[in-house]
Structures are given as structure tokens and as C-alpha cells.
Amino acid sequence: MGIDFSFTPEQEALRDGIRKFLENEVAPVVAAMDESEEFPEATVRKMQQQGYFGLPVPEAYGGLGLGKVGYAILLEELGRVDASHGAIVGAHTSLGTTPILYYGTEEQKRRWLVPAARGEKLLAFSLTEPGSGSDSGALRTAAVPRGDGFVLTGSKLYVTNGREADTVVLLAATDPKLGPNGGVSAFLVDRGTPGFRVGRCEKKMGLHGTSTAELVLEGVELGPEHLLGGVGQGFSIAMTALDVGRVSLGAASLGGLEAALGQSLAFARERTQFGRPISEYEAIQFKLAEMAMHAQALRLLVYAAAAHQDRMGIDPTRWDRADRARKTREAATVKCLASEWASEAIDEALQIHGGLGYIRGTPIERAYRDARISEIFEGTNEIQRLVVARDLLTRGP
């Protein structure tokens, strides 16, 4: 079997169905959502009922079993229509379901993963703290053993879906001295647990449909069934989830880039200046060509990385070291290039649209604000370059 870059008829049908749903149901509400800065509850509810919140999760655990390639198709399509909806699905699926699917016990999967994949419960993932962003080992939120369980105290920051989530996959320090090397553990914290509350929600430049919440933990008592994986395994759980997240984020950025290209192409054909459509000017053609070249390159990168993750499967104990390193490097590459090329394309699309692109409420203006965060969250692009460089220096080119 050589290299086959085609999608299966099932994947094509899936993309068509997703696109139609998003155009009919989501696209019409996006401008108002952006303006009101409210969580798009109605469309999220509908997406939960129609299978959108468990795409890569195996059918045995309530999902659709479409793997990372199917999931990338979803995020690419979401990216074309609205980054907020993409981020809500991504935070839930990549970062919420992956840790439970890969590291949870059978009982934890039944209790937390199945309802999440079925769309009955919403998940969030919480790593960042006021003093710990890229330096994700420097967590202050402490998980102190008590009885056979833990007591969690501290505060977490910038949690996507934090305000709405039923359960948060939350990283806390079980041994601050060890830092990322065995000192961090992952916990499943349910909304309504005594001592656990949502703090301030940030007002943001973009992604107005998502909540970005502070989470406050004041002596939150958790039983042992809330510990995900082993004590000290948290950092590796988080990095595994982020590998999935970074590829899907790349897919969403690709969708954003494609939308910017589509809108620019249509506008450049229509808009006439000096007696000719501006698409006839080389200055515009070069911008369009650049976008199209980046889109083509990204499609290969995104789906190659997703297909590799599908081949590796969902049992981390069976991964070999080199394969795992390759996966991490691919994810970093995809995330970094996709987010930067998307920002660049949207910036050029705004330029092509001229004054119109700067008008509040136009898709390009919204995309411009929405896109910027992708260079920052799920690991800054500086961190992505470090990941690639470290792998270069240990494994080679």
C-alpha cells in the first residue's frame, strides 16, 4: 500500500453533512453571538444531540468512532464557520475526552467519558495558573493526600468552557518538588463539588462565544476515583491531550484560512477599481496564491498528523518512544504553522477587503480577532518551536 491521500466516501459524506449543518444552524447565529459575547447554548445543545461532541471517541464509549481524521474534518469545517464553536468542541473533545479515554479506568470511562461523548455532559481542561503558563510544571494548585483521596487548593486560569463544564480535567501538584517529572497529577473535578467554584470570566479580544474562566479550589475533597492515571502522571497525560489538541487546532486554523481565501476570492472578483475587478491585479493575485499554497500544504500536514495518531491508537502503554516523539513533533509543527499561516491569510484577506474588512461584524473582522489566540493557546508558538528543536537535537532531523 503506497500513499493514498483520498478520503473515504464515508468521510466525504461526513464532511458534507457537517458543512450543511454548520451553514444552516451555526453560521446564522455567529455575528450576534460575537456581539453579545454569550455562550452559544442553543447551537451547542443541538450539536451535542447530533453527535458533534464525541467524534473521535470509540462507539463503545458513546462516540462515533471516527478517529482523529474524522475529528480533523469536523474541526476544519468548524474553523471555516466559527472559531468559538471550534474552541468549545476542541476543549471538550481534544483536551477533555482524550485524557479519560487514554488513561481512565473502565469505571471512569463509564462515569465521565460516555456521557461526555454522547453530548450529555460538557468537559473542560485546566492546566494554566496565574504563575504557570508555558512553564506548566510550576503549578501551585496543590493536591494533598487525605485518607485514600486528595484535597485540592489553589486557583486556575483561562479555562475554556470553564463556566459551563460539568467536569473539568484539572492538573494539580501532588509533589511540587518534582515539578513536571512526576510531581503533577490529573483529577476529574465535577461542578458542584464543595469548595469548587467558577471565578472571574475574562473579556477577550476574540472567541466571544467561549467562556474563559478562573476556577477556584478551596479545600476540594476528592475520592481516589477522581484521580486520572497514576499519581505523578499528570504532566504526561496533559502533553498527550495537547498532542491531540494541537492537530485539531491546526485543522481549525486551516478551516479559518480556507474561509478567508474563499471570501477574498469572491470579493476580489466582484470588487471593481479603475475599471477592472481587483482580481486582475497582480498585487491581489499574489496574496490569493500565497493563501492557496499555504492551505494546500496545511491540508497535507494536518491529515498526515491525524492519520499517524489514528495508526498509533489510544493505548499509550503500547506506543514506542520514537513514534511518540514523532507524534509530538508533528503536532507542534501543525499547530505552529497553521496558526501563523491562518493569521497571515486573514490579515491579507482584510487588506483585500479594504475598509470593509475593518467594519465590525463582518466575517473577516471577526476572524481577525478570533485567529490571534491560536498562536498562543494550547502551547505558545515559541513552545512549539522549542518542542521541534528539542526533538531535532535528540532524535535528529
Binding site: 464515508e10 459524506a13 461526513l14 453533512g17 450543511k20 449543518f21 447530533q50 453527535g51 462515533l64 466582484e270
Partner: protein
């Protein structure tokens, strides 16, 4: 009770279309086919009728070439149709006009459906011919421009509204009947993702073209002389103005002198 719902693939409206090399017809190559808009409403209404009368079978039927007909039937299955039958078109037949009615009627004649439901017109050719041609060929009552379609619990009679230019008629008609639908009671649903996946694995029955050949015998499909695309739009002209009065005056001047639609 059984509903036979007819579905036709129509070119996606946003896609690029072009004539064949000989200029005789629309080139099907590269076209993305979607479920025609009125047929989409027909599927929606069929599913709504089934919801009101559990146990009803909704059977999707399409006449045409592969693979577009099969794909459109799978789209119907994904929306919730119970079964699907693809009636294969003989090579060279474009699935439109009276030929389509003849082929479909040949298959429908043997099917004891209380209701044959389809869009009042297709999304592309827009003949509006099928509902009444099918009804005539099947010897059943037929109606176009129908909305608010309901049936009694036993499926013995149908009630609906038929829209006219000057008003609307209310009808109650005994089954079986052929209905060309103008509008469903609600906007057509979109397929749930699990249903899309399920529809890929469901069987699509195939009726070979030979089976309907007799119905088409002596009626060879004949292509039109020439196919041409609509003339490109000339684009909008913007009037620049400082006051509403100035805008009105400039507009009037253009309507008189350039468009010459005013004296």
C-alpha cells in the same frame, strides 16, 4: 402505511457549471449533486407524517445515473428514510422530463404506497411536471403546490392546502394519491452525524435499467440543441451622494439617460 418519497439530485447552486464540449447540455463532470430543495421538503414532510403515524415506512426512490442517484438516496437515508431504491437510468438518458415520470411510474405501479410524495418541482429543470405526469401514468389523483399535508390515523385520506395565484384551496382526498409539495410544515432537518454513518452501511436496492426499459420504449431521450449559461450579471453601480435629494436626482438621471426606462 407506506410513503414513496421521490428524490432528485440537483447541481449545488454555489458550484461552477459549464456546458459539455459539444455545447449540447450541462456537463455533469465535476458537479456536486445535492438533494433538490423541494424534494428535501418532501422528505421532511414524509418524516413528519411518519412521526405522527408510527409504523409508517418511508421509502426513498430515485431515477438516474450512478453515482449521484445513489448518493442522494444515502442522503435520504441519513435524514431518516427507512429504505431506498435506485432506479438505474439507461446510458445516455438524462433523468428529467416525461422520461423520468415513465420510468418512476413503472416502478411505483407495483408498490402499494398510500402516498407518493415529491417536490412540486425540481431544483434544476423546474418543469413542475413530475407530480401530475406520475399521477396520470399511475391513474391516481395528483396535486401540485401542496402544503400543510396531513393524513388521518388510518392513512385512508389526506388533507392539504393547494396554493393558487389568487388564493388557496383546502382538499381532502382518499388514498392513494400523488402529491407535489411546495412546503413542509417545518424547515428540512439536517442529518445527525450517527445517521450519516449508518446510512453508508444501509442497503440501496437497485432496479436495473432493463426493468424500466419497456416504459421508455419508443421514447428515446433526446438532448436539447444547445445549452448556455445565464448571461453574467453586469454588476451594481453605486451612486455617490451627499444628501437624499441628490441621490434621488442622480438615480432619476441614470434611469432616464442610461437605462432609458423612464421618459
Amino acid at each position: 402505511m407506506e410513503i414513496q418519497v421521490l428524490v432528485k439530485p440537483a447541481p449545488e447552486t454555489e458550484g461552477r457549471i459549464a456546458p459539455t464540449a459539444d455545447g449540447s447540455r450541462l456537463d455533469p463532470a465535476g458537479i456536486k449533486w445535492v438533494l433538490a430543495g423541494y424534494d428535501e421538503s418532501a422528505v421532511e414532510q414524509a418524516l413528519l407524517l411518519r412521526e405522527r403515524s408510527p409504523g409508517t415506512i418511508v421509502h426513498a426512490l430515485s431515477w438516474g445515473p450512478a453515482p449521484r442517484s445513489e448518493e442522494i438516496l444515502r442522503a435520504g437515508l441519513a435524514l431518516g428514510c427507512d429504505r431506498a431504491t435506485w432506479v438505474e437510468a439507461p446510458p445516455g438518458f438524462e433523468p428529467t422530463g416525461i422520461d423520468a415520470a415513465r420510468a418512476l411510474a413503472a416502478v411505483l405501479a407495483d408498490r402499494p404506497a398510500e402516498l407518493v410524495l415529491l417536490g412540486q418541482q425540481s431544483g434544476d429543470s423546474e418543469d413542475g411536471l413530475q407530480p401530475l405526469a406520475l399521477a396520470a401514468l399511475l391513474g391516481r389523483p395528483g396535486f401540485g403546490a401542496v402544503s400543510r399535508l396531513t393524513w388521518d390515523a388510518a392513512g385512508r385520506q389526506f388533507s392539504f392546502l393547494r396554493s393558487l395565484d389568487h388564493g388557496a384551496e383546502e382538499w381532502t382526498v382518499p388514498a392513494p394519491v400523488v402529491v407535489g409539495l411546495r412546503q413542509a410544515d417545518q424547515d428540512p432537518r439536517t442529518a445527525k452525524l450517527p445517521m450519516i454513518l449508518k446510512s453508508r452501511k444501509m442497503p440501496v436496492d437497485r432496479v436495473a435499467s432493463a426493468t424500466v426499459a419497456a416504459a421508455l420504449d419508443g421514447h428515446p431521450g433526446s438532448p436539447p440543441l444547445r445549452f448556455s449559461l445565464p448571461a453574467p450579471r453586469s454588476g451594481a453601480k453605486l451612486i455617490e451622494y451627499a444628501s437624499p435629494e441628490e441621490a434621488a436626482q442622480k438615480l432619476l438621471k441614470r434611469l432616464r439617460e442610461e437605462a432609458k426606462v423612464l421618459p
